[in-house]
């Protein structure tokens, strides 16, 4: 079950802005929970782990750097000797909390990209953009195609070289580099020659002369309109909240996120976001939503 790319681009942009603007960990946690639930509802839970693993290094770095470089905050956990660049070694609970909150933001942003990938079909995204930016889409689809071709080409050339007696498992690194050097050169030349052939093939088929032929039309379905309506509600609640400074907190000198009003407003955000999860769940389970809308 996939959605129209435009629906998901607009929704992902809303989520991205919400994540970047909010500074309250409860609000960011709500968005994170929403995405985990959505991805799991669509049965793509493995994508969460593969996406998050790319951001782990960055998240750890953020948690370490913040408390080391900023010493403000009332709750001092540790105070020690003076170090170069860092200054006095002092770790505060507020600085640690800020680092943790930023790491949560990073994970959240990573999951927005995974969410978009799960919710849309890559070919549909290409078709959608090719309507408005055909040169860009053509270049990108040719590049992706080239990456596949080159992977196979490297194996083919390597097999030929092995048959000719080249040893790629030399122990000395210089000898190994010398063995690999002709492969790179052959691949480089053959792919450039191939690019000219592909260009001539495109030219001979009349590329760029008239309007492009389209064999399938990408259309917005009922569920896309439903999702866009929910997106508008999420956006409205987000803007209303921002105008009354909800979801924004200070970490220094002390954490100001315990105001009951600020904590209660997150319920509205949650209701708006989880109605989107409900729609997704419905689209997966209810035949009416799945096939008719």
């Amino acid at each position: 079950m996939k959605f129209h790319p435009l629906t998901m681009i607009l929704f992902s942009i809303t989520l991205l802005f919400m994540t970047l603007v909010y500074s309250h960990p409860v609000y960011i946690g709500s968005i994170l929970l929403f995405m985990i639930m959505s991805i799991c509802t669509l049965g793509e839970g493995k994508k969460i782990i593969s996406s998050v693993k790319y951001g782990i290094y960055g998240a750890i770095l953020i948690i370490i750097v913040n408390p080391l470089v900023y010493h403000e905050g009332r709750m001092v956990i540790y105070e020690g000797i003076r170090l170069p660049i860092i200054g006095r070694f002092k770790i505060t609970l507020e600085a640690l909390a800020y680092g943790g909150n930023s790491a949560l933001k990073l994970i959240c942003i990573l999951l927005i990209f995974a969410f978009y990938g799960v919710m849309t079909d890559r070919d549909d995204t290409f078709s959608f953009f090719s309507k408005y930016a055909h040169k860009l889409t053509l270049t990108l689809s040719m590049t992706i195609n080239m990456i596949h071709r080159l992977k196979l080409e490297v194996l083919r050339v390597k097999d030929v070289m092995i048959l000719r007696g080249v040893n790629f498992k030399e122990k000395k690194i210089i000898k190994r580099v010398k063995a690999y050097y002709p492969i790179l050169k052959v691949i480089f030349i053959s792919s450039l020659e191939g690019s000219l052939d592909r260009a001539e093939s495109l030219y001979s088929r009349g590329y760029g002369k008239y309007i492009r032929t389209s064999y399938s039309k990408l259309e917005m379905k009922g569920r896309d309109y439903l999702f866009l309506s929910l997106n508008t509600i999420v956006l409205a609640v987000f803007i209303y909240g921002l105008l009354s400074e909800k979801g924004l907190v200070l970490f220094y000198p002390t954490f100001t996120g315990f105001h009951i009003e600020n904590l209660l407003f997150v319920i509205w955000i949650d209701v708006a976001l989880f109605s989107c999860v409900l729609l997704l769940w419905g689209c997966m389970r209810w035949k009416f939503l799945k096939y008719k809308i």
Binding site: F17, Y54, L140, N145, S191, S195, L202
Partner: protein, 210 residues
């Protein structure tokens, strides 16, 4: 002010302008195909070296593309290499920044050619070495702007210090790729550039000559 959000907005607006100019530009199919091929080569180069942290021939290939074909071409090769290869390695908030960093790398190589028509092997290698650091510095910038508070010189230096060894590996890798393959690949690409370049002579001009 939310500098992380501001930087994302600025970078997206810049890309929209660059891509609109690419759409409007008179680009031949041969150029499109060559951009795709070089971006594909640069992108696929990230995969076999994934075991060595931050050692990849991508930066070097973007540099020679920009050097031979000019700044705009170099930018497009760099941007597409990042975008396409991340379809396999994983898209994330780093994608626009990688596109920008490799794009600028291609632009700077194109500008370099305007000043040095025939640079020595060591000069190209040093240029690639420098871009090893610059690339990672651009990548660190968003990290610092979006996730570190306060934005002081101290936090800036500390963020950059943390990635020093990664940056150094990238720079050393670039140096060797450029030193070993730089000159040869530039000659090869220049030959291809000559093959796809042509000059249009109006019919009237030929008639006048006859």
């Amino acid at each position: 002010m939310n500098y992380g959000l501001l930087s994302v907005a600025v970078i997206l607006i810049c890309f929209i302008f660059v891509f609109i100019s690419y759409e409007r530009k008179k680009v031949s199919v041969k150029e499109i195909s060559l951009i795709a091929t070089l971006a594909g080569l640069a992108g696929v180069g990230r995969v076999p070296f994934a075991a060595l942290p931050n050692v990849q021939p991508t930066t070097f290939l973007v540099i020679i593309s920009g050097y031979v074909f000019g700044p705009f071409f170099g930018f497009m090769v760099g941007a597409f290499a990042a975008l396409a290869s991340n379809f396999f390695l994983g898209q994330g908030p780093w994608t626009p920044w990688q596109m920008l960093a490799w794009g600028l790398c291609g632009v700077s190589a194109g500008v370099l050619k305007k000043f040095y028509q025939n640079p020595s092997r060591i000069m190209i290698s040093m240029f690639a070495f420098l871009w090893g650091f610059l690339f990672d510095y651009i990548m660190n910038l968003w990290h610092w702007l979006a996730f570190v508070y306060p934005l002081t010189l101290q936090s800036f230096l500390f963020t950059y210090m943390n990635s020093f060894y990664f940056d150094l590996m990238h720079a050393i890798g670039n140096f060797f790729f450029a030193y070993l393959f730089g000159k040869d690949f530039i000659h090869l690409l220049s030959r291809f550039k000559d093959r796809i370049s042509y000059t249009e002579i109006p019919v009237e001009k030929i008639k006048n000559l006859l």
